[in-house]
Amino acid sequence: MAFASGYFKTTYKSDLAIVETFSLWICLIILTLGLIFFPFFASAFLMDLANQVFLALIGAIALMLLTGYAGQFSLGHAGLIAAGAFTTAILFKELNAPIWVTLPTSGLTGAILGITFGLPSLRLKGLYLALSTLALHFIVIYIGAEYETQRGFATGVVIDSPSIGPFLIEDPRLWYFSLLIIDILVVIFSINLVRSRTGRAWMAIRDRDVAAEALGIKVASYKLSAFVLTSALTSIAGCLFAYYRGFVSVEAFSLHMTIEYLAMIIIGGLGSILGAIFGTIFVVLLPYIIDALVDILHVPTRLTTYMFAIKYSAFGLIMIIFLVFEPSGLVGIWHRIRDYFILWPFKHKPLGER
């Protein structure tokens, strides 16, 4: 695999290309083909894992934009997913609304919540803000629980599979391709965003808000735009989550879910879309990988209770290890491995390494 080992651009426009070399194009095509043909080999379990990764990725990228790029901390992510899911559930149950109504409405709900709870961000910094988003979590969950109880959906609201025109999206493969397309769009959108004016303004605010403001960036409105975009995207993910799982229940949206999303962007590497992708894959699959190892190693059944508790702690431990020893996350490791092969046998950094 050949990565660009230097800069050989002749026009500024060519420097804007996301994919830099011909061989990278080939790799990307192979990856895409792999993703396209994966469902035809994978079992239903692996399909479910893939779909889980795709679903989580939308939320993770949204959080990456807010936290990794705009530098705003949020503890309300599970609340926003719940908001999208409950908007969908309520519209479906009360009005029998189809997906082309619920999806945008969920996005809108998220955007409104984003404005409401992002407003304090204009006057607050860092930690104060995180806690106002914690309030968002509790309030959304409360409203959801009231809805469930008042309408008598004791074990959750059941939702039918969505249909777009004549297509009923029920088959895992259909879900896979729908989610894949959405994810590709979200990824491309975010990459474009962060390498253009908006993204630069966010990063400037994240790194030095005083300097950013002195350069003419409206800090308040950019913070708010990050909030609104993230909330809308996350709520849309919540809507898809509701349809994919076929049901919505408040118990599914715990603070632990928020923490999992935070873990995704930390482990992946803050400030990198690729990091969000790596992190999501890692965090979603980690429990199943440990399960698989337990199976392979034939851990006696009696000991599995302890294994499960260890698995739970391992999650925290891995987060700590990344934060303390590898703050650039999986994407940092990836860059190092890549550089190692680009430059082998030398040990210099490639020119202009970020």
């Binding site: 109880t149 074990t155 599995t304 590898e326 190092r336 190692y340």
Partner: protein, 391 residues
């Protein structure tokens, strides 16, 4: 640098492990079990797993069932729906189990039920609240439940019991946890009580977990309740009771008897704390109880033996199902067996657990009420097995 690259390689290798399906012995009854050993509410579900561990260790030591060992594939879903869903899919499509089970919060039901329906494999609820779909007359063909508590049935026993016990004017207080299942049941109980002409003095839904239960208890007490009925997770039930007592409340309290009830009756030693349920307490000291205690002590279970009854019953039911499933087993054969199951629970419940084609809950639910008796310095039966027909 190489060290850090190594880190990546290890990660990659573990990732590959995901794609390897371990080979199971082809001669075992394969059963999947997704249970919340960690995470929210795991205090209720983890003991079920504990009981299954020791139960099937015994069964396999005896040479298995119909000459075949039972292989349980146990996974921890941490009470998260996504994990439960993935487990269900793995059980059904990769491990090719003939039956899979769930013991976790109710938010994990829907995704597992989906899998059961889609792949037509029976799903057995062992330790969690029974979903509506197992009730007669039209039970879902793939859903079964052996759990002691059944929403909408427990209150049908509890409210008349309180009415009969109460001497003088009855003012009923109701306590739920602010989760949909519990609140649904308490709302149902309120309707029931009003229908029977009982005055409902107060109703509280307590958010989980609450730093202080006293304010909620104050509300019940100031509403003038002299009986309180609680149907919620055990912690909520017992903490509300303790808070009421701390306030100097003198009334009587009826709570659903979860697995921790027996230990807590002995701890609280309160004569007016009644618990009702469908599982016998170890205070009965039947042969079966002695056996569970002995095995639990021998195998050093993680949870105390008093909390193992629920799991033990489910394990007995599972053993009976597999006994009736001729080799080679298929989900179809398992379903046939489950539709005509009758398990003699040897004193763990008031009578046998019977499933029919249209009833996957049980045909008769036997309730019993226990309380602490300070004169006898032990747990006594207030009301012996009372059958409630499930139709």
């Amino acid at each position: 640098m190489m060290k850090k690259s190594l880190f990546g390689i290890v990660a990659l290798a573990s990732f590959m492990a995901l794609f390897l399906t371990p080979a199971f012995a082809g001669d075992a009854y394969l059963v999947g079990f997704s249970v919340a050993v960690t995470g929210r509410g795991s205090g209720i579900y983890a003991p079920v797993k504990d009981a299954f561990d020791i139960y099937f260790k015994q069964v396999n030591a005896r040479g298995g069932i119909n000459g075949h060992p039972v292989k349980l594939i146990i996974k921890d879903n941490a009470a998260e729906p996504s994990k439960a869903a993935a487990h269900a899919k793995k059980f059904v499509t990769q491990d090719k189990v003939i039956l899979f089970m769930n013991a976790a919060l109710s938010s994990t039901y829907a995704p597992m039920v989906q899998v059961a329906k889609r792949y037509n494999v029976p799903l057995f609820f062992a330790g969690a609240v029974c979903p509506d779909a197992v009730y007669p007359p039209k039970a879902d063909p793939n859903l079964y439940c052996s759990t002691a508590f059944g929403a909408k049935y427990d209150s049908r026993f509890a409210i008349p019991f309180i009415k009969n016990q109460a001497k003088g004017p009855l003012k009923l207080g109701l306590a739920a946890m602010n989760i949909p299942v519990s609140r649904g049941e308490i709302d149902f109980a309120e309707e029931l009580a009003k229908g029977m002409g009982i005055e409902v003095a107060g109703k509280v839904a307590i958010p989980p977990p609450t730093p202080d239960y006293t304010p909620f208890a104050t509300k019940l007490k100031s509403a003038g309740a002299n009986w309180v009925y609680a149907w919620a997770p055990w912690g909520c039930e017992v903490k509300t009771f303790e808070a009421l007592r701390k306030l100097g409340w003198k009334g009587k309290y009826l709570a659903y008897a979860h697995i921790q009830a027996e230990d807590d009756l002995a701890r609280l030693k309160d004569d007016d704390f009644y618990v009702f349920g469908t599982n016998a307490f170890f205070a009965d000291d039947t042969e079966m109880h002695k056996k569970i205690r002995a095995i639990s002590v021998k195998e050093k279970t993680i949870y105390p033996y008093t909390q193992l009854t629920e799991g033990w019953i489910a394990a007995m039911v599972l053993e009976e199902i597999l006994k009736k499933t001729p080799w080679p087993p298929t989900p179809e054969k398992v379903r046939t067996a489950m539709n005509q199951i009758k398990v003699d629970l040897e004193g763990l419940k008031g009578g046998p657990l019977v499933w029919t084609k249209g009833n996957h809950f049980r045909t008769v639910n036997y309730y019993r009420v226990y309380k602490w008796d300070s004169k006898k310095n032990g747990i006594v039966i207030v009301k012996d097995w009372s059958p409630l027909k499930v139709e």
